[in-house]
Amino acid sequence: METTPVTVNEAPGAHGPIRVLVAKPGMDRHDRGAKVIARAYRDAGMEVIYTGLHQSPAQIARAALEEDVDVVALSILSGAHNTLIPRVCQALRDVGRDDVVVLVGGVIPAEDVPRLLEAGVERVFGPGSSTEEIVAFTRDAVARRRGETV
């Protein structure tokens, strides 16, 4: 995987390719979906950083800050989403990166979705979502976000 480092003076995501952090919070070991979406983002011309497995919310937020990403795409199938996802959102706020688009993919019961949206997630993609749909949504969400902040 190749990524292009962003210079410090560049406005975050104001121009240039969308930068995405694909992350696996907690102890979940299943990373097939994370790897597929990472590759789909890359094929769509985005710059992708994949954290690998077993990341704490603080580690994810630190990576989002250091890599200066526009999007944090979280993949979780462990059932620990109600605990971990709000913590990731909080950790992003703590490091001053509450401007990133947070997306969640995985096995999330429908009744848990409102709570995650309330915590700061932009959208939850359930099983069967297509990579095309996720990429298109990501592009729109970043464009909206850039329009609001630039």
């Binding site: 102890m27 789909a40 690998g52 077993h54 704490s56 059932g79 019961p109 429908a110 359930g126």
Partner: protein, 547 residues
């Protein structure tokens, strides 16, 4: 859509134009012809390739009577919440006719952390049962005599520690070790390749495994010391060919490690078992299982010089493919599971887990797991497929495909050898990259409609009714942490410290770790304490994040 035949093409060439697709292939991408005949299965050396059931090279099965003699073990994987809850589910399944137990551990246990470790927050008891100490193991098997049931435990990184707790629980029940039957998965190589629940780096992990081989050969002779698993390689997105090739390559690596540790191959090889996935492509799966048996037999006899026929026989468990189950129209998963289970039976499995229809949504409910078990019972007792051994043997297509699977697996063995063997190939990211490529290709085929997934990209329902799902409440974590703290307070902490010091010394000296771990378990040392002690000596493995 099929192409029109070229103008002036001979009559035979026009035929493909009438077919639904220009090319038919298996899920692994093997092209399938319209029809197979004797020319596809040459007679030369047919007896060597096929043989008869119960005889080398066991293509047709490892027993001469197969299911006429004894049905496969119906072993549903179960575990959630606390040891008490899982114990209740075990007893329910045994009452309903399940014939073996299979324990699912939660993520903290799988990664060797105690329930009160900061990383365990939110994960305790979620996707399996939490086991911190011998106390949990005692509750898990309370009222289940360990000399009368065979137990499979899906545990890898901390397999030696959990196995030590199981042995200590058996001691408490008064059951001698030589009466224990069961399996610890203990397949660390596939963890680095696909499943990601490793703790230590590959080389010390292999040493722990050969320690288990040696200990069991002396003390727990009926125990399957490793279940070499393709299941997770497949769930991570591999093809059937990759699953076959990588699993067997791992198997050979364990055999090599055992021999290099100074063990006689016939002393430990009979206790190696396998675990395969059964996916949707019916004939490819059957061919995969038949090819696996044959390759193992040939290699064990001819490459590793095993003389005991028990070392040649590949015994395996199958599980239907969890990754094929859909959250959409979940009831139709029952049909997928039925077909996959039938393939496992026609492929000659010794043990089978059928997935529950609601597993793409959450942990299985009691009703869903009962239906999954009934699916096996119907195949076993109503369908008649168990009346004859290897009923598909001799089918031109099945024999050709079995040969083709073997040929493709052997191509992979050559590539792995060129990289210097399994561990260097893991370190180079070879397996991880091959699987990621296959997984991405599959996703693209599903999205383009080239592969149909009923209910997902075809025959979709607009309004879906959501079935009832099982949830593990967050209070489970609090209860588990409380029990752990009570144990830490009431146990003999001096005995624990001494046992952990002895464990560390054994890790440094190269002495067999199992007796030391057994003493730690008896003293109620926690899983996290045992793993941390070894982390200090062996270090930790980090994911290479290849995509």
């Amino acid at each position: 859509m099929a192409k029109e035949p070229a103008a002036g093409a001979p009559a035979e060439a026009a035929a493909p134009g009438r077919e639904r697709r220009p090319r038919f292939e298996t899920l692994s991408g093997i092209e399938v012809k319209r029809c197979y005949g004797p020319e596809d299965v040459p007679d030369a050396a047919a007896a060597q390739r096929l043989g008869v059931p119960g005889q080398w090279p066991y293509t047709r099965g490892i027993h001469d009577t197969m299911y006429r003699g004894r049905l496969w073990t119906m072993r549903q994987f179960a575990g959630f919440g606390t040891a008490e809850q899982t114990n209740r589910r075990f007893k329910y399944l045994l009452r309903e006719g399940q014939t073996g137990l299979s324990v699912a551990f939660d993520f903290p246990t799988l990664l060797g952390y105690d329930s009160d470790h900061p990383m365990s927050e939110g994960e305790v008891g979620k996707l399996g049962v939490a086991v911190d100490t011998l106390a949990d193991m005692e509750i898990l098997f309370d009222g289940i005599p360990l000399d009368q049931v065979s137990t499979s435990m899906t545990i890898n990184g901390p397999a030696a520690m959990i196995f030590a707790m199981y042995l200590a629980a058996a001691e408490k029940q008064g059951v001698p070790f030589d009466r224990l039957r069961g399996t610890i998965q203990n397949d660390i190589l596939k963890e680095y390749i696909a499943q990601n629940t490793y703790i230590f780096p590959p080389r010390p992990s292999m040493r722990i495994i050969t320690d288990i081989f040696a200990f069991c050969a002396d003390h727990v002779p009926q125990w399957n010391t490793v279940s070499i698993s393709g299941y997770h390689i497949r769930e991570a997105g591999s093809t059937a060919v990759q699953e076959l090739a990588f699993t067997l390559a791992n198997g050979f690596e364990y055999v090599r490690a055992g021999i290099e540790a100074g063990l006689d191959v016939d002393r430990f090889a009979p206790r190696l078992s396998f675990f395969f996935n059964v996916h949707n492509d019916f004939f490819e799966e059957i061919a995969k299982l038949r090819a696996a048996r044959r390759i193992w037999a040939v290699e064990m006899r001819e490459r590793f010089g095993a003389k005991d026929p028990r070392s040649w026989k590949m015994r395996f468990h199958c599980q239907t493919a969890g990754c094929t189950l859909t959250a959409q129209q979940p009831e139709i998963n029952i049909v997928r599971v039925t077909l996959q289970a039938l393939a496992a039976v026609l492929g000659g499995a010794q043990s089978l887990h059928t997935n529950s229809f609601d597993e793409a949504l959450a942990l299985p409910t009691e009703k869903a797991v009962r239906i999954a078990l009934r699916t096996q019972q119907i195949i076993a007792e109503e369908s008649g497929v168990t009346s004859t051994v290897d009923p598909l043997g001799g089918s031109y297509f099945v024999e050709w495909l079995t040969d083709e699977m073997e040929r493709r697996a052997r191509d992979y063995f050559r590539r792995i050898d060129e990289l210097g063997g399994v561990i260097p190939a893991i370190e180079a990211g070879f397996f991880q990259k091959e699987i990621a490529d296959a997984s991405y290709r599959y996703q693209q085929q599903v999205e383009s409609g080239e592969i149909t997934v009923v209910g997902v990209n075809k025959y979709v329902l607009e309004d879906e009714e959501q079935p009832e799902i099982l949830r593990v409440p967050d209070e489970v974590q609090q209860r588990q942490i409380q029990r752990l703290r009570d144990i830490r307070r009431t146990r003999d902490n001096r005995r624990v410290s001494q046992a952990l010091r002895d464990l560390k010394a054994a890790a440094r000296s190269g002495e067999n770790l199992m007796p030391r771990l057994l003493e730690c378990a008896r003293a109620y040392a926690t899983l996290g304490e045992m793993c941390d002690t070894l982390r200090e000596v062996f270090g930790e493995y980090r994911d290479r994040a290849i995509f």
